[in-house]
Symmetry: C3
Subunit: 345 residues, 3 copies
């Protein structure tokens, strides 16, 4: 049990209501019960704060007070809420262990407190840091380096020479370091380019389930620190992604494109090869980006255009049939005016 | 060998032609030989029923009779055809077996007749039903529940607490229960939301190869009974999908969206987050759905619009250059008319 | 070390500059150092041949000569460059070996010089050729046939009866031979079609990471010789793809479609089912192909249209708001002209 008082101290919040009110669990706004903590960040919730059964609600500083309800005012109520979740449901501590079925090359260096589950394979010359969790059935090639406190989920494939910075999470069934789609025409056949590069993933990244990240053809495919990718993202050879950029599900980024820092690429967007997407840019969902995007620009559409224009365009597209009809009608009316004019003496 | 008579009795069909005609195999309309059964459901086949070499053809009740050809009239000839396929090529019965290389936590409960192949890992607290087939190299986390007669294909990852209803099939290399793409901004960095939810998949589902289905952040990602997903579908955290809905390949459904029953989502469509797609709705291929869809509505396009409008719009889009030219011409003609008017006394 | 002379002889190039100039490595144009070979195929590099620090540059025959720089003129400088890469960094020879943890059915036939890594499973009745490399944690079903010199990467699933021609590479986490998305409506439920077909992949193919290729429902899904697919490509049941066709990342091809030879399908394109895409056709990125494409045609857009028209259309789409405004203005002006005419005596 945690009281409103205790939570307020933990997350630096201000109490409205009963400081002794206690909760034992957490839940969403609509599913919460009387012993749950919940949160309401969206203004749409403020008018219905009395509708949740939650014992305590974390709200932003501009939320209204409601008598009879215990509220905790916070600068970042969502962050505060998940800090309480982490307190109530702490992750099990990782126990050092190497499952006897794991096949690990003799010359690998493995740090303290690292856990390697069943049916893992690790190739020659790998360096695995401390407190790393390599989950079942993952395959790690030769000369990979995985820094401290990473989690590599089940059924992941890390190809030779992949490097992963500390505290990063690779979600299940990812492929990191596969050969890029690099061929050179030799008559009608496509001769394979030997790939000698590798993938470098920074610290504190999350790579979503089923991602594929290709190694550099020559040189490096580089994912910066704090980058988070959602599921089924494809990142081609020699792409560079800056720190803290977010890439949402099913995005594809073609070869040799450079994405800046703090960029957001929304779901299902595609970005063509050899482009520059500037720091802080936002690419909308389903967008097809075929040219450079300047820092801070927001783009949408296929092909991409400024988002403000896309908003107008997307309202006009369904009205194209009516616009066409109006154009046809204008043509008739003009013809009439013209013929009328000709008839005039 | 099966005679027309025997098949007619098996699938409740009416014979035209030779009741003693026998087949030993099945094939498609164009590849069939004289000892094959085939079927023709599409009207385009009716005029060329004499072109297949098949011994017997299953047809719908409104198909024409052709002399010299043995036809079986059925209410649902495609269903009937595949019932005969299942009769001729019965699945091998599943033999109870646990491969010695499988690593299964001591406290797991495993039902009768269940088969677990090589290099499988099953975590603590799992309950596996009867006649379940867990194929090679699949990883099952802690506290999962898999009901009777399921098939979990190779290289699948089921994350902790995943539940799968009876008779469901999970195709190879799926990830069920991965963390959602849930972060909260903390300065420029993105703090991870602890995920405490799980995925519930109903009975009689098929989840296509390479799907990724995220667990609920808090609460459940819920896939109803009889839902079928094609390959490379992405379903985000806290999505709900109603019974018997079909989701075609490479569709992405963003977080907290609710899809009704008997919905069809065609290939490569994307559905944004926090939306409601009503029962029986149809979403066209390549559509980008950015708002709610009412029950029974058919929508297409990016952004989505009523399918009937999209049909018109999609015919106009390639004619935009000519419409623009006509608009420019009108402008000139009007200018002329206007200047002419001004010149008039 | 290789001298310009030696390289010229190896790749049949003509030397400009110092025949004794030697390199020991390879690199990209901008990253190269003085002991690296690089190449410049793109005309944009010709004006800055003096900017790379590379010791030797491979260039096409129409590149300018620059004094003080050693150039090697070649008919295909990119191909030549990667031939030198292959010479400098030869692949390690494959050593015959079967890891003791591999589980291989007794009746499998395995050729000479084949290497099978840890945690592999191979089902009954498989035939594996010579010099095949089956990497860790890959699962091969029953009655598969893998011809000589193939590489099957880690965490791949080959379903029963899959056939792969000689010298083909299957990249990590692919699924080949999964059941297609084939159901028949039975009331509201969707009855599963028994799949009896399989996948045939030709010789000298590369199948990208995370691909899913479904078996034929009845009959074969056929991938021709020399076909290369990028990552996360989906190929449905009964698709046929002709020789040397290229399929870029995240493309989806629906059931029973036939793609010709020497076709290029760009990234994220979708192709609907039961279509014919002719030899040598090109499908642009993000395209949605909903009808047949003739041999040699180039198409783009959703829905697809001739690429030349799409280039015009894509320039007009962002100007739709202004075109609409101009149309509205025309309507007003015509109204004025009309009313003026009516007022005239």
């Amino acid at each position: 049990m945690l009281t409103a008082d205790q939570i307020a101290a933990m997350v630096n919040a201000r109490i409205h209501g009963d400081p002794g009110k206690a909760i034992s669990g957490v839940s969403s706004f609509d599913d919460a019960g009387s012993t749950d903590l919940t949160f309401a960040v969206d203004h749409s919730f403020f008018s219905r704060l009395d509708e949740t059964k939650a014992g305590i609600i974390l709200v932003p500083n501009d939320a209204p007070a409601v008598s009879g309800i215990t509220l905790l005012y916070s600068d970042n109520p969502k962050l505060a809420f998940f800090q309480v979740v982490a307190h109530l449901m702490p992750a099990e501590p990782l126990k050092e262990f190497i499952h006897p079925s794991a096949v690990i090359a003799d010359d690998c260096v493995i740090g303290d407190g690292t856990r390697i589950e069943a049916h893992v394979s690790i190739g020659q010359g790998c360096t695995i840091g401390s407190h790393v969790h390599i989950m079942a059935n993952t395959v790690i090639g030769k000369q990979c380096r995985i820094d401290d406190s990473c989690r590599i989920s089940p059924n992941v494939t890390l190809v030779d020479k992949t490097r992963i910075g500390r505290q990063s999470i690779i979600h299940p069934n990812c492929v990191i370091g596969s050969d890029g789609f690099g061929f050179v025409q030799d008559g009608y056949a496509h001769a394979k380019l030997i790939h000698t590069g590798y993938v470098h993933i920074g610290a504190c990244c999350e790579i979503g389930a089923g991602n594929t990240i290709d190694r550099g053809t020559l040189g490096i495919t580089h994912i910066g620190n704090g980058v988070k990718t959602d599921n089924q993202v494809h990142i081609a050879h020699n792409v560079k992604i800056g720190d803290n950029t977010l890439v949402v599900a099913q995005v594809g980024i073609a070869g040799s494109t450079t994405i800046g820092k703090n960029v957001i690429i929304a779901g299902k967007a595609g970005i063509s090869g050899h482009l520059d997407i500037g720091d802080g840019a936002i690419v909308g969902p389903y967008a097809g980006v075929v040219g450079n995007v300047s820092p801070g620009d927001i783009v949408s559409g296929i092909p991409h255009m400024p988002h403000k224009i896309w908003l107008k365009v997307s309202r006009i597209i369904p009205r194209l049939p009516s616009l066409r009809t109006r154009l046809l009608s204008l043509e008739k009316r003009i013809k009439k005016l013209e013929s009328n004019r000709t008839e005039q003496p």
